[in-house]
Amino acid sequence: MIPAALTNPAPWEVLACCLALLIAPTVASQQRSNRWILVGVIAMLVATLFAPTGPLAYVAAAVASLLHAAAAVSRSRTGAASLVIAAGLIAGAAVALRLDYLTTAFVLSCLALAVRTGVMPLHAGVASLCDRAMVVHVQQLPSAIALVFVHLRFVDHHAGALALAPTIVRIGAVLTIVPALMALVQRDLRGLYRSSTAMHGGMLLAALGAASLDNYAAALLVAVTMGLALGGLGLMLTSLEERVGPVQYSGPGGRIQAFPRLAAAFVIFGAAGVGLPGTAGFVADDLLLHTLWLESPASTVTVIVSSALLAVSTLICFARVFLGPAARSVAPDLRTREALGGALLIVLLLVLGVVPGTLLGPADAFLSDVGGTALSGR
C-alpha cells in the first residue's frame, strides 16, 4: 500500500517551499555552504515530511537539527547549542511518541519548535544565529517548517493537546506583543530582524495552540509564511551587510539609490511578514486571527496589535536604512543570483497569497485525516 504522505500533494508542496528556502541562500550568498551538510539536511527534510510513522519523522527532524548545529558551530556556539538542545527535545518527543506518552510528546515538540523559531524567552540561540550566522539561520527555517508539519501530523490530534490549547494560545499571543514592542526601540537592522523573528515565533506558537481545534492548515500556512518572509528578509539583510557592513539606524541611510532592487525586495519581504495583501502573509494572518478567536478573542486582539506595531517598526527600519540623502557606494545592487534567490521566495509568497488553496486545501485534508491513521499506525 502506498503511504498517504506520498499520494497527497500537501507534503510535496511543503517540500517545495522548504527546498526553495534552503536553496535560495545557497544560490544568493557568497558564503560557502558545506555541501555535505546541505545534502544531509535535504535528505532529512524528505524523511521528515514523508516518514510513515511519528517517531521516524521526529528522528529525522532531530538529525536535521544536529546538521544545522554542525553548520553553525564555527560562527555561533550559542546558536549551535540551542540547535543541539532542540534536537534533544525532538528526540525526546520521538521517544515519548513511541511509548504512547502523547501529551509529553506534544509538550516536547512545542518546546523544540519554540527553541527553533526563537520564541521568547527561549530565543537566545536563534538571536545569536541572527547576529552571527544569518545564512545558517535562514537555512534552518525549512527544517523548522518540516517540524511544524510533523507536529501537526502526529502529536496535535489528541485530548492532551486539546486541553493545553487555551494555555498555548494565550502564551503565544503574549509572546508576540513583547518582541513587537521591542522592535520599536531597536537601533540596528539585525535588532529589528531578531525582534521580528521572535514575534513570528510567538504567532506560530499561538497558531499551534489553535491548531488543536482542527485548524491544522492555518498553523502550517503561518509556519510557511514565516519561513519565506523571514528567510527573504534575512537574505536581503545579508546582501546589504556584505556591501556596507553592519547597519545602524544612526548612520547614514539613503541607500535606495545605490541599491534600488535590494530596497524593493526588502520592502516586499518586510511587508509580507506583517500581512501585505496579495502575499501569503495576508492570508496567514487572517486565517490565524479567525482561528485564535475561537479560543481567545483577547489573544486575537493582542496579535493584531503586535502585527501593527511590527509593521510600524519595519517601515521605520526601511526609512532609516534606505531613505535619506543619497549615500555613495561603489558596491553593485543585487547581483543576478541574489535577485534570483529573492525572486524565488517572492514568487512563492505571491502564489500562496493569491491562491492559498493550493497548499491549504490538501494540507487541511491530509493533516485533519491523517491524525487518526498516524496514531493507530504508530
Binding site: A127, R132, L315, A319, A343
Partner: protein
Amino acid sequence: MSELLAFALAVTVLAPLASVTVVGFRVLLGTRPASESFAAVVIGAGLVLSMIGGMTTLACFAGLGGAPLRGEVEFGDWLRLNDFEIPAVLLVDFISVTLSLLAAVLTALVARFSRTYLHKEPGFVRFFVLLGIFATGTQLIALAGALELFFAGWEMVGISSALFIGFFHERAEPVRSAVRAFATYRLSDTGLLIATVTTFELLGSARFSVMEQAATLGPGATTAIALLFLLSAMGKSAQLPFSGWLPRAMEGPTPSSALFYGAVSIHAGLFLLLRVWPVLEASLVARVAGVIVGLATALYAAGVVRVHTDAKGTLAHATLAQVGLILAEICLGWIELALVHLVCHALLRLGQYLKAPNLIHDSHRMGHEHRHPSLLERRAPQLAGRLYAASLHRLRLDDRIDVAFSPVLRLAAMLDRADRRLRGSLSLDGVPE
C-alpha cells in the same frame, strides 16, 4: 450580460495590479533601470483598462442593453477551509459603482498629468508603480463585497500612501511624515481588522450583505463593532485626534497629494462607514460619537485653515473641514447627501490641488487681498489671539499623541534592556553591542 459584468469587474480590479506586476518584475530582474516611457505606458494602460471596466460596470448597473444588474458577483473563493471562507465577491450597487468610476477616472487623469509633471524626476518609475498599487487598492475598496477583500484594498492604499508621502526621501521631513502617517493608519486599522474578525465570528460571514443582521447582535456587540469601524474611518480620513498626519502628507508630490488627500484616499474612511451603514445605524452611541468627531474636526480645520500661509497646507485643512462635515452627515443618516457631497468635494479638491503649484504665480499676477479683522478679533481680541496661536500650532496634536505614546516606548526600552541581559547571561559568544 452577467458574464460581461463579471469580466468588467475583474478588469477594473486586476488591470492595474497586472501592470504593477509587469513593471515590478522588470525593475527587480532587469539588468538596466526601467525607462520612464515603459512604466508610464504599462501602468497607464492598466489604469485606462480599469477605467473602461468601470464604465462597462456602470453600463451594466444602469441596464444599458438589458436588465439592470446589481448585487453580489461571485468569483469563487479566495480561500475556503471547512466553515471559514474568504469569498472573492464583488458588490455592484449605487455606492460601489459611483466610487469605483470616480476613482478610476481620477487616477487615470492624475497618471496622465504626472507623466508630464514628473518627467525626469528620479522617482518617476516608483511613482507609477505606487499609482498602480493605489488604483488596485481603491478598486478593491470600492467594489469589495466582503470585509476581507475590503481590508486588502484598504492596506494597499495605506502602504502606497505612506510611500508617496516619503517620495522625496532625500529630505528628512518627508520620511518622518511618511512614518507618522503609516503609524496612524496601521494603528487605526487594528479597529477594522478586529471588527472584521468579530463580524465574521458573530454573523457567520464578513460579507456586506449580512450587515443588515447587525441589529440582531444586541446593543453591546453592535456598538463595539460600530465604534471599531469608526476608529478605522477616523484614522484613514484624518479625523480628530488623528488629524496631524494630513498636513504632513503634503510633503509628497503634488499629483499624489491631489489624488490621495484631495480626491480619493481621504474619503476612504467615509466610504467604509457608508458600506457598513447598517451596523452604524444600529448603534446610537457610535453615530453620536461620529457626529461629534466630524463637527469637532470641521471646527478645528476651519480654525487652522485661517492661519495657514502655504497653499497645500491650507487645502489640506479645507479638505479636512469638508470631510468632517461629510462624516457628520453620514452619522446623521443623510446617506445620499453625504455621497453627493463626497463626489463633488473630491472633484473640486483634485482640481485645486493640481493647480496649487500655480497658485503663487497667480497670486503674484492678481495681487493679494487685504484681510479685514473678523468680528471676534474686533470684539474679543485676547480670545482671538489665543485661538490664533492654538490654530497656528494645530492644537499641538502631534505632541500630545507623542506624549500619550511615550509610556509605551519606555516600556519597550525596558523590555529590550531585560532581553539583552537575559541573552547575555545565556550566550556562549556574548551579545553584540
